[in-house]
Symmetry: C2
Subunit: 112 residues, 2 copies
DNA sequence: CCAATCGATCGACGAATGTCAATATATGCT
DNA sequence: AGCATATATTGACATTCGTCGATCGATTGG
């Protein structure tokens, strides 16, 4: 489950620029896969739209309508994809989005 | 398999703007899910990076390294998500990307 | 018409995924 | 130390997904 976040070499070159090689496609697929579930998208939007730009895991369970283990699992998927970071402070886990990673995906989807 | 492409109401409001509601999350997840597979990403990049901006299905099978039914399936997923269009001309099927749909996803990923 | 070709659909199968209850781990409080 | 709380991990299960071989439908050329 814990996956190392590799750095995309051909970072930011749009899909219109060339055919993705296998490695590149694999890595991008991991990131898009993290966004490919409604529950995770809602969790991500909770973190991203938070005024403080960070959210405690304890504030995600009830609004998401999922069990605590399920939320923990989904957040791990987002962390593994590099889209959010997790910081443990005392008993609590705090999440933040990683804007550079969203930018990377935006660049990939950019028009030619 | 054939899914109607609904139009996103809250189109283009970024993830940083508010918490996605269920319907919105479902629809966005469908689009991201279409991008969440390496084979499909490569197929999409083949279409998107084509000089003529369109590609015949017959030119996708061999380079993708998948069987003809598998390619057809993947292209259907992309079409159903609204990311590409399929036009049947004679015996051949021609695919084009839908830039507006990529723009929509880029807008969703835009920073606050 | 018949044969050939292109692409979509069907059926099957193993692999991956989303989910939760139960349990484990870690931290803080008294 | 002992207990309560917050989160992660494990194990199980049903569902979805990616894949291919076989087949079907449509179009074209002789």
């Amino acid at each position: 489950m814990t996956k190392t976040i590799r750095v995309l070499e051909a970072c930011c070159r749009p899909v219109t620029a060339r055919v993705f090689d296998q490695t590149e496609a694999d890595e991008l697929a991991t990131m898009f896969k993290a966004l490919a579930d409604p529950a995770r998208l809602r969790l991500l939007s909770m973190v991203a739209s938070s005024p403080e730009r960070e959210v405690c895991a304890c504030d995600l369970v009830e609004p998401s309508g999922r069990s605590q283990p399920t939320v923990s699992h989904h957040m791990s998927v987002l962390v593994d994809a590099g889209l959010v970071t997790r910081e443990k402070r005392g008993k609590w886990a705090w999440y933040r989005v990683v804007p550079e990673r969203l930018d990377l995906l935006r660049a990939v989807l950019a028009p030619g």
